[in-house]
Symmetry: C2
Subunit: 326 residues, 2 copies
Protein backbone atom coordinates (compact mmCIF):
# COMPACT_ATOMS: atom_id res chain seq x y z
CA UNK A 1 0.00 0.00 0.00
CA UNK A 2 1.28 3.45 -0.90
CA UNK A 3 1.96 5.77 2.04
CA UNK A 4 -0.77 8.09 3.20
CA UNK A 5 -0.61 11.68 2.04
CA UNK A 6 -0.71 14.13 4.94
CA UNK A 7 -2.13 13.12 8.30
CA UNK A 8 -5.12 13.65 10.56
CA UNK A 9 -3.87 17.05 11.80
CA UNK A 10 -2.73 18.81 8.64
CA UNK A 11 -4.27 20.68 5.71
CA UNK A 12 -4.20 19.17 2.23
CA UNK A 13 -4.50 22.17 -0.09
CA UNK A 14 -5.13 19.89 -3.07
CA UNK A 15 -8.52 18.86 -1.64
CA UNK A 16 -11.65 20.06 -3.47
CA UNK A 17 -15.08 19.47 -1.97
CA UNK A 18 -18.00 19.14 -4.40
CA UNK A 19 -21.60 19.47 -3.23
CA UNK A 20 -23.83 17.12 -5.26
CA UNK A 21 -27.04 17.68 -3.25
CA UNK A 22 -29.17 18.95 -6.13
CA UNK A 23 -27.87 16.38 -8.61
CA UNK A 24 -27.78 13.15 -6.58
CA UNK A 25 -30.43 14.37 -4.15
CA UNK A 26 -32.61 15.26 -7.13
CA UNK A 27 -32.93 11.53 -7.76
CA UNK A 28 -34.98 11.39 -4.50
CA UNK A 29 -37.52 14.10 -5.40
CA UNK A 30 -37.50 14.15 -9.21
CA UNK A 31 -35.39 17.34 -9.10
CA UNK A 32 -38.33 19.30 -7.71
CA UNK A 33 -36.53 21.63 -5.33
CA UNK A 34 -37.93 25.06 -4.57
CA UNK A 35 -35.88 28.02 -5.79
CA UNK A 36 -35.51 29.05 -2.15
CA UNK A 37 -33.93 25.69 -1.30
CA UNK A 38 -31.43 25.92 -4.14
CA UNK A 39 -30.62 29.56 -3.49
CA UNK A 40 -30.02 28.98 0.21
CA UNK A 41 -27.93 25.90 -0.52
CA UNK A 42 -25.84 27.96 -2.95
CA UNK A 43 -25.27 30.65 -0.30
CA UNK A 44 -24.52 27.98 2.29
CA UNK A 45 -21.96 26.29 0.09
CA UNK A 46 -20.21 29.59 -0.60
CA UNK A 47 -20.07 30.39 3.12
CA UNK A 48 -18.96 26.86 4.03
CA UNK A 49 -15.95 26.97 1.71
CA UNK A 50 -17.26 24.30 -0.69
CA UNK A 51 -15.20 24.31 -3.90
CA UNK A 52 -17.77 23.13 -6.46
CA UNK A 53 -21.56 22.96 -6.49
CA UNK A 54 -23.21 20.59 -8.92
CA UNK A 55 -26.63 21.85 -9.99
CA UNK A 56 -27.95 18.74 -11.69
CA UNK A 57 -27.93 17.01 -15.03
CA UNK A 58 -28.02 18.58 -18.42
CA UNK A 59 -30.18 15.81 -19.82
CA UNK A 60 -31.50 15.54 -23.38
CA UNK A 61 -34.91 17.14 -23.83
CA UNK A 62 -35.41 14.75 -26.73
CA UNK A 63 -35.12 11.76 -24.39
CA UNK A 64 -36.74 13.28 -21.29
CA UNK A 65 -39.87 15.43 -21.35
CA UNK A 66 -39.31 18.59 -19.27
CA UNK A 67 -42.92 18.30 -18.09
CA UNK A 68 -41.99 15.11 -16.20
CA UNK A 69 -39.07 16.49 -14.15
CA UNK A 70 -37.94 19.44 -12.09
CA UNK A 71 -35.72 21.91 -13.94
CA UNK A 72 -32.46 20.63 -12.42
CA UNK A 73 -32.70 17.57 -14.63
CA UNK A 74 -31.82 19.96 -17.47
CA UNK A 75 -29.87 22.80 -15.80
CA UNK A 76 -30.36 25.52 -18.38
CA UNK A 77 -27.99 28.48 -18.26
CA UNK A 78 -30.95 30.72 -17.38
CA UNK A 79 -32.08 28.55 -14.51
CA UNK A 80 -28.59 28.42 -13.00
CA UNK A 81 -28.15 32.17 -13.46
CA UNK A 82 -31.50 32.77 -11.73
CA UNK A 83 -29.86 31.33 -8.61
CA UNK A 84 -26.23 32.42 -8.86
CA UNK A 85 -26.31 35.53 -11.06
CA UNK A 86 -22.77 35.83 -12.39
CA UNK A 87 -21.60 33.58 -9.51
CA UNK A 88 -19.37 36.19 -7.93
CA UNK A 89 -17.73 33.77 -5.51
CA UNK A 90 -14.74 31.46 -5.16
CA UNK A 91 -17.01 28.45 -5.73
CA UNK A 92 -17.25 26.87 -9.15
CA UNK A 93 -20.42 25.54 -10.82
CA UNK A 94 -20.69 22.01 -12.20
CA UNK A 95 -23.31 20.04 -14.10
CA UNK A 96 -23.40 16.36 -14.97
CA UNK A 97 -23.80 14.94 -18.48
CA UNK A 98 -24.57 11.23 -18.82
CA UNK A 99 -23.19 9.33 -21.79
CA UNK A 100 -26.12 8.46 -24.02
CA UNK A 101 -28.60 10.76 -22.25
CA UNK A 102 -27.29 14.16 -23.30
CA UNK A 103 -27.35 16.14 -26.58
CA UNK A 104 -23.88 17.37 -25.83
CA UNK A 105 -23.12 18.82 -29.25
CA UNK A 106 -26.23 21.01 -29.24
CA UNK A 107 -26.81 21.81 -25.60
CA UNK A 108 -23.53 23.38 -24.46
CA UNK A 109 -22.31 26.89 -25.29
CA UNK A 110 -18.65 27.87 -24.99
CA UNK A 111 -17.37 28.26 -21.45
CA UNK A 112 -16.61 31.92 -22.11
CA UNK A 113 -20.37 32.55 -22.42
CA UNK A 114 -21.48 30.08 -19.73
CA UNK A 115 -21.89 30.34 -15.97
CA UNK A 116 -20.79 26.70 -15.73
CA UNK A 117 -17.15 25.89 -14.91
CA UNK A 118 -17.04 22.12 -14.96
CA UNK A 119 -18.87 19.35 -16.83
CA UNK A 120 -18.84 15.93 -15.19
CA UNK A 121 -19.24 13.10 -17.68
CA UNK A 122 -20.82 10.00 -16.15
CA UNK A 123 -20.49 6.64 -17.88
CA UNK A 124 -20.30 2.91 -17.37
CA UNK A 125 -16.99 1.26 -18.04
CA UNK A 126 -17.92 0.00 -21.52
CA UNK A 127 -18.77 3.58 -22.53
CA UNK A 128 -15.29 5.03 -22.10
CA UNK A 129 -14.84 5.82 -25.82
CA UNK A 130 -18.14 7.69 -25.83
CA UNK A 131 -17.14 9.47 -22.63
CA UNK A 132 -13.83 10.53 -24.18
CA UNK A 133 -15.63 11.99 -27.19
CA UNK A 134 -17.77 14.09 -24.84
CA UNK A 135 -14.85 15.07 -22.61
CA UNK A 136 -12.87 16.33 -25.61
CA UNK A 137 -15.87 18.31 -26.82
CA UNK A 138 -16.31 19.97 -23.42
CA UNK A 139 -12.58 20.53 -23.06
CA UNK A 140 -12.48 22.25 -26.44
CA UNK A 141 -15.36 24.48 -25.35
CA UNK A 142 -13.17 25.55 -22.42
CA UNK A 143 -14.73 23.64 -19.51
CA UNK A 144 -13.00 21.71 -16.76
CA UNK A 145 -14.03 18.08 -17.11
CA UNK A 146 -14.32 14.94 -15.02
CA UNK A 147 -15.03 11.35 -15.94
CA UNK A 148 -17.17 9.54 -13.37
CA UNK A 149 -16.94 5.82 -14.10
CA UNK A 150 -19.97 4.37 -12.37
CA UNK A 151 -20.60 0.93 -10.82
CA UNK A 152 -16.89 0.27 -10.60
CA UNK A 153 -17.40 -2.60 -8.14
CA UNK A 154 -18.79 -4.69 -11.00
CA UNK A 155 -15.92 -4.04 -13.41
CA UNK A 156 -12.96 -6.36 -13.53
CA UNK A 157 -9.34 -5.37 -13.09
CA UNK A 158 -8.48 -5.58 -16.81
CA UNK A 159 -11.40 -3.31 -17.70
CA UNK A 160 -10.45 -0.77 -15.06
CA UNK A 161 -6.79 -0.74 -16.11
CA UNK A 162 -7.76 -0.27 -19.76
CA UNK A 163 -10.29 2.45 -19.00
CA UNK A 164 -7.86 4.43 -16.85
CA UNK A 165 -5.10 4.14 -19.43
CA UNK A 166 -7.45 5.35 -22.19
CA UNK A 167 -8.61 8.33 -20.14
CA UNK A 168 -5.04 9.17 -19.19
CA UNK A 169 -3.45 8.82 -22.61
CA UNK A 170 -6.28 9.79 -24.96
CA UNK A 171 -8.22 12.55 -23.18
CA UNK A 172 -7.80 15.96 -21.66
CA UNK A 173 -9.96 15.02 -18.67
CA UNK A 174 -8.95 16.90 -15.51
CA UNK A 175 -10.35 14.55 -12.86
CA UNK A 176 -11.10 10.81 -12.92
CA UNK A 177 -13.68 9.71 -10.36
CA UNK A 178 -13.90 6.40 -8.57
CA UNK A 179 -17.66 5.90 -8.13
CA UNK A 180 -19.02 3.31 -5.68
CA UNK A 181 -22.52 3.31 -7.17
CA UNK A 182 -23.66 0.25 -5.25
CA UNK A 183 -22.10 1.13 -1.91
CA UNK A 184 -20.37 -2.22 -1.89
CA UNK A 185 -16.79 -1.12 -1.31
CA UNK A 186 -15.11 -1.37 2.09
CA UNK A 187 -12.44 1.12 3.18
CA UNK A 188 -9.78 -1.47 2.35
CA UNK A 189 -11.10 -2.17 -1.15
CA UNK A 190 -11.82 1.50 -1.85
CA UNK A 191 -8.25 2.33 -0.83
CA UNK A 192 -6.84 -0.40 -3.07
CA UNK A 193 -8.86 0.81 -6.05
CA UNK A 194 -7.98 4.44 -5.41
CA UNK A 195 -4.30 3.51 -5.47
CA UNK A 196 -4.77 2.23 -9.02
CA UNK A 197 -6.47 5.48 -10.04
CA UNK A 198 -3.79 7.55 -8.31
CA UNK A 199 -1.02 5.78 -10.22
CA UNK A 200 -2.64 6.72 -13.54
CA UNK A 201 -3.30 10.20 -12.19
CA UNK A 202 0.35 10.65 -11.37
CA UNK A 203 1.44 9.28 -14.76
CA UNK A 204 -0.81 11.57 -16.79
CA UNK A 205 -1.31 14.57 -14.51
CA UNK A 206 -4.94 13.94 -13.60
CA UNK A 207 -6.55 14.50 -10.21
CA UNK A 208 -8.60 11.64 -8.70
CA UNK A 209 -12.04 11.95 -7.12
CA UNK A 210 -14.30 9.72 -5.05
CA UNK A 211 -18.10 9.49 -5.03
CA UNK A 212 -19.55 7.29 -2.29
CA UNK A 213 -22.89 5.67 -1.55
CA UNK A 214 -23.94 4.84 1.98
CA UNK A 215 -25.44 1.35 1.60
CA UNK A 216 -23.19 -0.13 4.27
CA UNK A 217 -22.85 3.08 6.27
CA UNK A 218 -19.38 3.48 4.80
CA UNK A 219 -19.78 6.54 2.56
CA UNK A 220 -17.87 8.88 4.87
CA UNK A 221 -15.36 6.21 5.92
CA UNK A 222 -14.55 5.31 2.31
CA UNK A 223 -14.27 8.98 1.37
CA UNK A 224 -11.70 9.80 4.06
CA UNK A 225 -9.86 6.53 3.51
CA UNK A 226 -9.34 7.23 -0.22
CA UNK A 227 -8.55 10.85 0.66
CA UNK A 228 -5.77 9.67 2.94
CA UNK A 229 -3.99 7.98 0.02
CA UNK A 230 -4.17 11.05 -2.23
CA UNK A 231 -7.69 11.29 -3.69
CA UNK A 232 -8.47 15.00 -3.76
CA UNK A 233 -11.93 15.61 -5.30
CA UNK A 234 -14.52 14.60 -2.73
CA UNK A 235 -18.26 14.46 -3.40
CA UNK A 236 -20.68 15.02 -0.55
CA UNK A 237 -24.29 16.14 -0.08
CA UNK A 238 -26.21 17.92 2.68
CA UNK A 239 -27.15 15.21 5.22
CA UNK A 240 -26.11 12.65 2.63
CA UNK A 241 -29.16 13.36 0.44
CA UNK A 242 -28.92 11.08 -2.60
CA UNK A 243 -30.39 8.09 -4.34
CA UNK A 244 -31.34 5.20 -2.06
CA UNK A 245 -29.00 5.11 0.90
CA UNK A 246 -27.54 8.47 -0.07
CA UNK A 247 -24.01 9.80 -0.22
CA UNK A 248 -21.24 11.02 2.05
CA UNK A 249 -22.75 13.65 4.37
CA UNK A 250 -21.22 17.09 3.85
CA UNK A 251 -21.38 17.82 7.59
CA UNK A 252 -19.24 14.77 8.36
CA UNK A 253 -16.72 15.73 5.70
CA UNK A 254 -16.46 19.44 6.59
CA UNK A 255 -16.09 18.48 10.27
CA UNK A 256 -13.21 16.19 9.34
CA UNK A 257 -11.21 18.46 7.03
CA UNK A 258 -8.68 20.64 8.81
CA UNK A 259 -8.48 23.51 6.30
CA UNK A 260 -9.97 26.54 8.12
CA UNK A 261 -11.67 27.61 4.88
CA UNK A 262 -14.29 24.94 5.58
CA UNK A 263 -16.96 25.87 8.12
CA UNK A 264 -19.89 23.95 9.57
CA UNK A 265 -22.03 26.81 10.90
CA UNK A 266 -23.92 27.73 7.73
CA UNK A 267 -24.47 24.11 6.82
CA UNK A 268 -25.98 23.29 10.23
CA UNK A 269 -28.37 26.21 9.82
CA UNK A 270 -29.28 25.05 6.30
CA UNK A 271 -29.95 21.54 7.58
CA UNK A 272 -32.31 22.67 10.33
CA UNK A 273 -34.14 25.11 8.06
CA UNK A 274 -34.32 23.10 4.83
CA UNK A 275 -33.26 19.47 5.18
CA UNK A 276 -35.33 18.66 8.27
CA UNK A 277 -38.56 19.99 6.66
CA UNK A 278 -37.73 18.24 3.37
CA UNK A 279 -37.51 14.91 5.19
CA UNK A 280 -40.69 15.68 7.12
CA UNK A 281 -42.44 16.37 3.81
CA UNK A 282 -41.83 12.73 2.86
CA UNK A 283 -38.67 12.79 0.74
CA UNK A 284 -36.80 9.62 1.76
CA UNK A 285 -33.12 8.71 1.61
CA UNK A 286 -30.47 7.24 3.84
CA UNK A 287 -29.00 4.08 5.26
CA UNK A 288 -31.47 1.27 5.85
CA UNK A 289 -31.25 -2.50 5.94
CA UNK A 290 -32.58 -3.08 2.42
CA UNK A 291 -29.76 -0.91 1.01
CA UNK A 292 -27.24 -2.66 3.24
CA UNK A 293 -28.28 -5.97 1.68
CA UNK A 294 -27.89 -4.82 -1.95
CA UNK A 295 -24.56 -3.23 -0.98
CA UNK A 296 -23.32 -6.43 0.64
CA UNK A 297 -24.34 -8.32 -2.51
CA UNK A 298 -22.76 -5.72 -4.84
CA UNK A 299 -26.01 -5.07 -6.68
CA UNK A 300 -27.90 -2.12 -8.11
CA UNK A 301 -30.21 -0.74 -5.40
CA UNK A 302 -33.32 -0.84 -7.59
CA UNK A 303 -35.00 -3.66 -5.63
CA UNK A 304 -34.20 -1.89 -2.37
CA UNK A 305 -35.67 1.34 -3.72
CA UNK A 306 -38.88 -0.51 -4.61
CA UNK A 307 -38.93 -2.12 -1.14
CA UNK A 308 -38.59 1.37 0.38
CA UNK A 309 -41.30 2.86 -1.83
CA UNK A 310 -43.69 0.10 -0.74
CA UNK A 311 -42.84 0.85 2.93
CA UNK A 312 -42.05 -2.81 3.47
CA UNK A 313 -40.10 -3.96 6.53
CA UNK A 314 -39.98 -7.71 5.94
CA UNK A 315 -36.22 -7.68 5.64
CA UNK A 316 -35.76 -11.44 5.79
CA UNK A 317 -38.14 -12.11 2.88
CA UNK A 318 -36.45 -9.35 0.92
CA UNK A 319 -33.03 -10.89 1.57
CA UNK A 320 -34.25 -14.29 0.42
CA UNK A 321 -35.68 -12.76 -2.77
CA UNK A 322 -32.31 -11.11 -3.51
CA UNK A 323 -30.51 -14.42 -3.06
CA UNK A 324 -33.07 -16.17 -5.26
CA UNK A 325 -32.34 -13.72 -8.06
CA UNK A 326 -28.57 -13.63 -7.93
CA UNK B 1 1.73 0.19 9.81
CA UNK B 2 1.73 -3.54 10.50
CA UNK B 3 0.44 -5.70 7.67
CA UNK B 4 -3.21 -6.63 7.59
CA UNK B 5 -4.17 -10.07 8.87
CA UNK B 6 -6.16 -12.05 6.32
CA UNK B 7 -8.03 -10.32 3.52
CA UNK B 8 -11.53 -9.45 2.38
CA UNK B 9 -12.20 -12.97 1.04
CA UNK B 10 -10.94 -15.26 3.79
CA UNK B 11 -12.10 -16.54 7.18
CA UNK B 12 -10.32 -15.44 10.34
CA UNK B 13 -11.03 -18.21 12.85
CA UNK B 14 -9.71 -16.07 15.72
CA UNK B 15 -12.67 -13.67 15.36
CA UNK B 16 -15.26 -13.62 18.16
CA UNK B 17 -18.46 -11.61 17.79
CA UNK B 18 -20.05 -10.29 20.98
CA UNK B 19 -23.65 -9.06 21.05
CA UNK B 20 -23.97 -6.15 23.50
CA UNK B 21 -27.59 -5.23 22.68
CA UNK B 22 -29.01 -5.74 26.16
CA UNK B 23 -26.08 -4.08 27.91
CA UNK B 24 -25.34 -1.03 25.75
CA UNK B 25 -28.89 -0.93 24.37
CA UNK B 26 -30.17 -1.06 27.93
CA UNK B 27 -28.73 2.43 28.38
CA UNK B 28 -31.47 3.60 25.93
CA UNK B 29 -34.45 2.11 27.79
CA UNK B 30 -33.27 1.80 31.39
CA UNK B 31 -32.76 -1.96 30.83
CA UNK B 32 -36.51 -2.46 30.59
CA UNK B 33 -36.66 -5.16 27.92
CA UNK B 34 -39.48 -7.68 27.89
CA UNK B 35 -38.54 -11.28 28.61
CA UNK B 36 -39.80 -12.12 25.13
CA UNK B 37 -37.36 -9.63 23.57
CA UNK B 38 -34.39 -11.03 25.49
CA UNK B 39 -35.38 -14.66 24.87
CA UNK B 40 -35.80 -14.09 21.13
CA UNK B 41 -32.53 -12.19 20.94
CA UNK B 42 -30.79 -15.07 22.71
CA UNK B 43 -32.23 -17.58 20.22
CA UNK B 44 -31.32 -15.27 17.33
CA UNK B 45 -27.74 -14.91 18.49
CA UNK B 46 -27.36 -18.68 18.82
CA UNK B 47 -28.74 -19.20 15.31
CA UNK B 48 -26.65 -16.36 13.86
CA UNK B 49 -23.39 -17.85 15.11
CA UNK B 50 -22.67 -15.05 17.60
CA UNK B 51 -19.89 -16.10 19.99
CA UNK B 52 -20.80 -14.17 23.16
CA UNK B 53 -23.98 -12.48 24.37
CA UNK B 54 -23.67 -9.82 27.03
CA UNK B 55 -26.77 -9.65 29.21
CA UNK B 56 -26.11 -6.41 31.01
CA UNK B 57 -24.33 -5.07 34.05
CA UNK B 58 -23.98 -6.69 37.41
CA UNK B 59 -24.28 -3.38 39.22
CA UNK B 60 -24.18 -2.86 42.97
CA UNK B 61 -27.60 -2.97 44.61
CA UNK B 62 -26.14 -0.78 47.33
CA UNK B 63 -25.43 1.97 44.81
CA UNK B 64 -28.42 1.45 42.50
CA UNK B 65 -31.95 0.75 43.71
CA UNK B 66 -33.40 -2.21 41.78
CA UNK B 67 -36.75 -0.42 41.79
CA UNK B 68 -35.26 2.25 39.49
CA UNK B 69 -33.98 -0.06 36.72
CA UNK B 70 -34.85 -3.05 34.62
CA UNK B 71 -33.35 -6.32 35.83
CA UNK B 72 -30.51 -6.37 33.29
CA UNK B 73 -28.79 -3.61 35.23
CA UNK B 74 -28.11 -6.35 37.80
CA UNK B 75 -28.09 -9.61 35.80
CA UNK B 76 -28.78 -12.08 38.57
CA UNK B 77 -27.98 -15.73 37.92
CA UNK B 78 -31.70 -16.53 38.18
CA UNK B 79 -32.71 -13.89 35.66
CA UNK B 80 -30.15 -15.07 33.13
CA UNK B 81 -31.14 -18.70 33.68
CA UNK B 82 -34.79 -17.80 33.16
CA UNK B 83 -33.80 -16.92 29.58
CA UNK B 84 -31.05 -19.41 28.74
CA UNK B 85 -31.68 -22.36 31.08
CA UNK B 86 -28.33 -24.14 31.22
CA UNK B 87 -27.32 -22.37 27.98
CA UNK B 88 -26.97 -25.55 25.96
CA UNK B 89 -25.35 -23.83 22.96
CA UNK B 90 -21.97 -22.90 21.54
CA UNK B 91 -22.52 -19.28 22.59
CA UNK B 92 -21.02 -17.98 25.79
CA UNK B 93 -22.66 -15.60 28.26
CA UNK B 94 -21.03 -12.36 29.42
CA UNK B 95 -21.88 -9.63 31.91
CA UNK B 96 -20.21 -6.29 32.51
CA UNK B 97 -18.87 -5.09 35.86
CA UNK B 98 -17.93 -1.40 36.18
CA UNK B 99 -15.03 -0.44 38.39
CA UNK B 100 -16.50 1.37 41.39
CA UNK B 101 -20.11 0.41 40.65
CA UNK B 102 -20.02 -3.29 41.46
CA UNK B 103 -19.82 -5.30 44.72
CA UNK B 104 -17.58 -7.77 43.00
CA UNK B 105 -16.42 -9.63 46.10
CA UNK B 106 -19.99 -10.38 47.22
CA UNK B 107 -21.96 -10.63 44.01
CA UNK B 108 -20.14 -13.30 42.00
CA UNK B 109 -20.24 -17.04 42.65
CA UNK B 110 -17.57 -19.41 41.28
CA UNK B 111 -17.77 -20.00 37.53
CA UNK B 112 -18.38 -23.72 38.19
CA UNK B 113 -21.76 -22.81 39.72
CA UNK B 114 -22.58 -19.92 37.35
CA UNK B 115 -24.23 -19.73 33.94
CA UNK B 116 -21.90 -16.85 33.11
CA UNK B 117 -18.71 -17.52 31.13
CA UNK B 118 -17.08 -14.11 30.90
CA UNK B 119 -16.94 -10.99 33.04
CA UNK B 120 -16.06 -7.76 31.25
CA UNK B 121 -14.46 -5.19 33.53
CA UNK B 122 -15.05 -1.61 32.37
CA UNK B 123 -12.88 1.21 33.66
CA UNK B 124 -11.37 4.56 32.85
CA UNK B 125 -7.65 4.70 32.34
CA UNK B 126 -6.85 5.99 35.83
CA UNK B 127 -8.70 2.99 37.31
CA UNK B 128 -6.42 0.29 35.89
CA UNK B 129 -5.16 -0.87 39.32
CA UNK B 130 -8.77 -1.25 40.52
CA UNK B 131 -9.63 -3.05 37.29
CA UNK B 132 -6.72 -5.46 37.77
CA UNK B 133 -7.91 -6.27 41.29
CA UNK B 134 -11.33 -7.16 39.90
CA UNK B 135 -9.92 -9.09 36.94
CA UNK B 136 -7.78 -11.24 39.22
CA UNK B 137 -10.78 -11.92 41.45
CA UNK B 138 -12.90 -13.02 38.49
CA UNK B 139 -10.03 -15.02 37.02
CA UNK B 140 -9.56 -16.86 40.31
CA UNK B 141 -13.28 -17.65 40.33
CA UNK B 142 -12.77 -19.31 36.95
CA UNK B 143 -14.25 -16.75 34.55
CA UNK B 144 -12.86 -15.50 31.27
CA UNK B 145 -12.17 -11.79 31.68
CA UNK B 146 -11.81 -8.67 29.57
CA UNK B 147 -10.70 -5.16 30.43
CA UNK B 148 -12.62 -2.48 28.54
CA UNK B 149 -10.70 0.78 28.90
CA UNK B 150 -13.26 3.45 28.11
CA UNK B 151 -12.91 6.94 26.62
CA UNK B 152 -9.53 6.06 25.19
CA UNK B 153 -9.59 9.06 22.83
CA UNK B 154 -9.05 11.33 25.84
CA UNK B 155 -6.08 9.41 27.24
CA UNK B 156 -2.55 10.35 26.28
CA UNK B 157 0.02 8.01 24.77
CA UNK B 158 2.03 7.60 27.99
CA UNK B 159 -1.11 6.64 29.92
CA UNK B 160 -2.15 4.12 27.30
CA UNK B 161 1.30 2.56 27.14
CA UNK B 162 1.46 2.26 30.93
CA UNK B 163 -2.07 0.84 31.21
CA UNK B 164 -1.46 -1.79 28.53
CA UNK B 165 1.85 -2.81 30.08
CA UNK B 166 0.21 -3.17 33.51
CA UNK B 167 -2.63 -5.27 32.14
CA UNK B 168 -0.22 -7.42 30.18
CA UNK B 169 2.39 -7.97 32.88
CA UNK B 170 0.30 -7.88 36.06
CA UNK B 171 -3.03 -9.49 35.19
CA UNK B 172 -4.54 -12.68 33.86
CA UNK B 173 -6.95 -10.75 31.65
CA UNK B 174 -7.85 -12.65 28.48
CA UNK B 175 -8.94 -9.76 26.24
CA UNK B 176 -8.06 -6.06 26.28
CA UNK B 177 -10.65 -3.83 24.60
CA UNK B 178 -10.07 -0.60 22.75
CA UNK B 179 -13.25 1.41 23.48
CA UNK B 180 -14.14 4.48 21.42
CA UNK B 181 -16.68 5.80 23.95
CA UNK B 182 -17.03 9.19 22.29
CA UNK B 183 -17.11 7.96 18.69
CA UNK B 184 -14.29 10.33 17.89
CA UNK B 185 -11.84 7.92 16.27
CA UNK B 186 -11.35 7.71 12.51
CA UNK B 187 -10.41 4.44 10.80
CA UNK B 188 -6.82 5.66 10.57
CA UNK B 189 -6.56 6.61 14.26
CA UNK B 190 -8.45 3.50 15.41
CA UNK B 191 -6.03 1.38 13.36
CA UNK B 192 -3.00 3.14 14.85
CA UNK B 193 -4.29 2.65 18.39
CA UNK B 194 -5.20 -0.97 17.74
CA UNK B 195 -1.65 -1.62 16.59
CA UNK B 196 -0.40 -0.50 19.99
CA UNK B 197 -2.85 -2.86 21.72
CA UNK B 198 -1.93 -5.70 19.39
CA UNK B 199 1.77 -5.33 20.21
CA UNK B 200 1.03 -5.76 23.91
CA UNK B 201 -1.36 -8.57 23.10
CA UNK B 202 1.34 -10.41 21.19
CA UNK B 203 3.90 -9.83 23.94
CA UNK B 204 1.69 -11.15 26.73
CA UNK B 205 -0.67 -13.54 24.94
CA UNK B 206 -3.82 -11.42 25.18
CA UNK B 207 -6.48 -11.05 22.54
CA UNK B 208 -7.58 -7.52 21.56
CA UNK B 209 -11.17 -6.32 21.18
CA UNK B 210 -12.87 -3.22 19.78
CA UNK B 211 -16.04 -1.49 20.96
CA UNK B 212 -17.28 1.29 18.68
CA UNK B 213 -19.73 4.18 18.91
CA UNK B 214 -21.41 5.60 15.85
CA UNK B 215 -21.17 9.36 16.45
CA UNK B 216 -19.49 9.99 13.11
CA UNK B 217 -21.13 7.05 11.33
CA UNK B 218 -17.85 5.20 11.63
CA UNK B 219 -18.73 2.40 14.10
CA UNK B 220 -18.74 -0.33 11.46
CA UNK B 221 -15.85 1.16 9.50
CA UNK B 222 -13.64 1.41 12.59
CA UNK B 223 -14.60 -2.12 13.63
CA UNK B 224 -13.56 -3.72 10.34
CA UNK B 225 -10.49 -1.52 10.05
CA UNK B 226 -9.15 -2.61 13.46
CA UNK B 227 -10.21 -6.17 12.64
CA UNK B 228 -8.05 -6.06 9.52
CA UNK B 229 -4.92 -5.45 11.60
CA UNK B 230 -5.60 -8.32 14.00
CA UNK B 231 -8.26 -7.22 16.51
CA UNK B 232 -10.40 -10.30 17.08
CA UNK B 233 -13.13 -9.58 19.68
CA UNK B 234 -15.76 -7.44 18.00
CA UNK B 235 -18.71 -5.85 19.81
CA UNK B 236 -21.92 -5.19 17.92
CA UNK B 237 -25.62 -4.73 18.69
CA UNK B 238 -28.84 -5.38 16.80
CA UNK B 239 -29.37 -2.38 14.52
CA UNK B 240 -26.64 -0.62 16.46
CA UNK B 241 -28.84 -0.18 19.56
CA UNK B 242 -26.76 1.58 22.19
CA UNK B 243 -26.27 4.79 24.09
CA UNK B 244 -26.62 7.97 22.04
CA UNK B 245 -25.51 7.31 18.49
CA UNK B 246 -25.33 3.59 19.18
CA UNK B 247 -22.77 0.95 18.28
CA UNK B 248 -21.61 -1.13 15.35
CA UNK B 249 -24.70 -2.76 13.81
CA UNK B 250 -24.61 -6.55 14.07
CA UNK B 251 -26.23 -6.91 10.63
CA UNK B 252 -23.40 -4.93 9.00
CA UNK B 253 -20.78 -7.00 10.80
CA UNK B 254 -22.34 -10.42 10.12
CA UNK B 255 -22.80 -9.44 6.47
CA UNK B 256 -19.11 -8.58 6.26
CA UNK B 257 -17.57 -11.62 7.98
CA UNK B 258 -16.83 -14.51 5.65
CA UNK B 259 -17.03 -17.38 8.16
CA UNK B 260 -20.09 -19.42 7.11
CA UNK B 261 -20.97 -19.94 10.79
CA UNK B 262 -22.37 -16.39 10.77
CA UNK B 263 -25.84 -15.98 9.29
CA UNK B 264 -28.04 -12.95 8.71
CA UNK B 265 -31.45 -14.64 8.34
CA UNK B 266 -32.43 -14.92 12.00
CA UNK B 267 -31.16 -11.45 12.79
CA UNK B 268 -33.20 -9.87 9.98
CA UNK B 269 -36.30 -11.60 11.32
CA UNK B 270 -35.51 -10.42 14.86
CA UNK B 271 -35.07 -6.85 13.62
CA UNK B 272 -38.41 -6.75 11.84
CA UNK B 273 -40.26 -8.38 14.74
CA UNK B 274 -38.59 -6.71 17.72
CA UNK B 275 -36.33 -3.79 16.80
CA UNK B 276 -38.74 -2.00 14.47
CA UNK B 277 -41.55 -2.03 17.12
CA UNK B 278 -39.09 -0.99 19.85
CA UNK B 279 -38.15 2.09 17.82
CA UNK B 280 -41.79 2.80 17.05
CA UNK B 281 -42.52 2.66 20.79
CA UNK B 282 -40.24 5.66 21.22
CA UNK B 283 -36.88 4.19 22.23
CA UNK B 284 -34.32 6.40 20.45
CA UNK B 285 -30.74 5.73 19.38
CA UNK B 286 -28.58 6.15 16.33
CA UNK B 287 -26.47 8.54 14.30
CA UNK B 288 -27.65 12.14 14.33
CA UNK B 289 -25.98 15.51 13.93
CA UNK B 290 -25.77 16.33 17.64
CA UNK B 291 -23.79 13.12 18.22
CA UNK B 292 -21.61 13.85 15.20
CA UNK B 293 -20.68 17.18 16.76
CA UNK B 294 -19.67 15.72 20.15
CA UNK B 295 -17.76 13.01 18.30
CA UNK B 296 -15.91 15.54 16.14
CA UNK B 297 -15.02 17.45 19.31
CA UNK B 298 -13.99 14.28 21.20
CA UNK B 299 -16.47 14.86 24.02
CA UNK B 300 -18.82 12.84 26.17
CA UNK B 301 -22.22 12.70 24.44
CA UNK B 302 -24.15 13.90 27.51
CA UNK B 303 -25.07 17.28 25.98
CA UNK B 304 -26.13 15.56 22.75
CA UNK B 305 -28.27 13.12 24.72
CA UNK B 306 -30.01 16.03 26.47
CA UNK B 307 -30.50 17.76 23.08
CA UNK B 308 -32.08 14.55 21.77
CA UNK B 309 -34.31 14.12 24.84
CA UNK B 310 -35.60 17.68 24.37
CA UNK B 311 -36.33 16.90 20.68
CA UNK B 312 -34.35 19.98 19.66
CA UNK B 313 -33.19 20.44 16.07
CA UNK B 314 -31.37 23.78 16.34
CA UNK B 315 -28.07 22.22 15.43
CA UNK B 316 -26.20 25.48 14.89
CA UNK B 317 -27.06 26.84 18.35
CA UNK B 318 -26.10 23.50 19.85
CA UNK B 319 -22.75 23.58 18.05
CA UNK B 320 -22.06 27.09 19.29
CA UNK B 321 -22.89 26.04 22.86
CA UNK B 322 -20.44 23.13 22.60
CA UNK B 323 -17.69 25.44 21.37
CA UNK B 324 -18.48 27.94 24.17
CA UNK B 325 -17.99 25.20 26.76
CA UNK B 326 -14.86 23.59 25.43
Amino acid sequence: MAPRKGNLMTVRTDVKVLDATIRDGGLCNNFEFTDEFVTELYKTNVKSGVDYMEFGYRASKNLFDPKDFGKWKFCSEEDIRSIVGENVSDMKIAVMADVGRCDFKEDFIPKSESVIDMVRVACYIHQIPAAIEMIEHFHNLGYETTCNIMAISQANTEQIDAALEMLGAQSHVDVIYLVDSYGSLYPESAANLSKKYLEIGEKYGKAIGFHAHNNQNLAFANTIETLSYGVSYLDATASGMGRGSGNCAMELLLGFLKNPKYSLYSLLTFIEKYIVPLRESGVVWGYDIQYMLTGQLNRHPREAMAFTAEKRQDYCEFYKSLLDNF
